[in-house]
Symmetry: C2
Subunit: 211 residues, 2 copies
DNA sequence: CGTACTTTTGAATCGCATCAAATCTGGTGG
DNA sequence: CCACCAGATTTGATGCGATTCAAAAGTACG
């Protein structure tokens, strides 16, 4: 990859700049069409994938043929555990046209124990992921749309202020709700004065009003 | 080795044996009564906690005083990200009488970059946690009790066989369901022949029958 | 200016939560 | 060994909230 392409990435929240240049140079950009299988269950991991665009899923087919989704990702690393495994325990599938960065896994794994700052980056990345996933789990365990919204604002926002980086429809999916349910709940919360919505520069901002 | 054999190896229970003896010797066992606050929001992390028994929560109070739970744990490490942060962004509370292992965080953080095998252990632990949390998120996003149960069996069981290590009531909570809903769904699934339950040696075993 | 998408509202339905209460169970102490 | 207790398991009735299906209005973008 060229330096130009890399600096564009550095602006994004999940930063891959700390990855050793040596690895970044070996990474190749992969364009995958919707429906394509990136890697198969049982095969030995050859690459560590980083999703830049699109949507990737890790899935497994159950005994009776039903699809079981183990992970869904639109940005960031997928299947981090494949570093330490001899074989994938699920398929990696693109459900949309996607752009992936494929880091050859062997040098990746070999450099981690050697390069201290790289290891630090990797541990920090994983720990952050764990934290955000745990919060997401707690949120999804909440019963009502209102509770999930409030939880999201509290855990992802700051000082009762939350800037959405996505459409409300996409947010609904993240909250485990239908978009109708989210729209309805947001409008009733607004009516009650529990939150206020601002739309500035195509960004929706949610403000929580303390009672 | 076949993929099956590998996942059997990976399913090893969370073990703290690989932690350097030097750190384990410095760790102290902490008995905390239900309701006690282990660490406060804003304070500098002094220990890395490992839950051996009881239940610990990471929580934050929202602007209007509502409790927001960011993590709930009954076994394993809590707040792994505190390794790299100067201050907790939430309270750590025991909601039951609990037993914790407190590793002084400074030597913990200092040894990680030095000790390669320790770093490997830590990265593997985190990656495994990420994987299991992602599966849990996908599961909780499913709408019906039946789908969550099937997802659990597929992702946590092996070959359509799942041994529960907990009561069904506790399992219901993990699935984000009331125990009534779980009992009812299990019995109707049994009636339809979708699963079969065996109780041997106080362990409930769930068997999925392929259609 | 048309197209694809998001946002919004409506009505009917379904599944789970909730409250209640009756067993069943493992483990305890007498 | 038995009585007893706390907890898990089971079943019932009711209501709420989200899903689902449907359709209209708004919005971004080429």
């Amino acid at each position: 990859m060229t330096p130009d392409q890399w600096s564009a990435l550095e602006a994004v929240h999940l930063d891959i700049a700390p990855i050793p240049a040596q690895l970044r140079e070996q990474a190749s950009e992969l364009h995958v069409a919707a429906g394509m299988i990136v890697a198969n269950l049982g095969s030995r991991p050859k690459f560590m994938y980083f999703i830049r665009a699109g949507e990737i899923r890790l899935r497994r087919l159950s005994i009776n043929g039903a699809e079981v989704v183990l992970q869904r990702g639109t940005y960031g690393f997928v299947a981090e555990a494949s570093l330490a495994t001899a074989a994938y325990h699920c398929d990696i599938v693109a459900v949309e046209d996607s752009v992936l960065l494929a880091f050859p896994i062997k040098p990746f794994a070999e450099l981690l124990p050697t390069d201290t700052s790289f290891a630090n980056y990797w541990m920090t990345t994983l720990a952050r992921e764990v934290r955000s996933l745990r919060a997401q789990c707690e949120r999804l365990a909440l019963r009502t749309a209102r509770e999930r919204i409030q939880h999201y604002i509290e855990s992802e926002g700051r000082d009762g202020r939350l800037e959405l980086r996505q459409t409300r429809k996409a947010w609904a999916a993240e909250l485990g709700l239908t978009h109708e349910a989210l729209y309805r709940t947001l409008s009733s919360m607004t009516a009650e004065g529990a939150v206020r919505l601002e739309t500035s520069a195509n960004r929706v901002v949610l403000l929580v009003k303390p009672l």
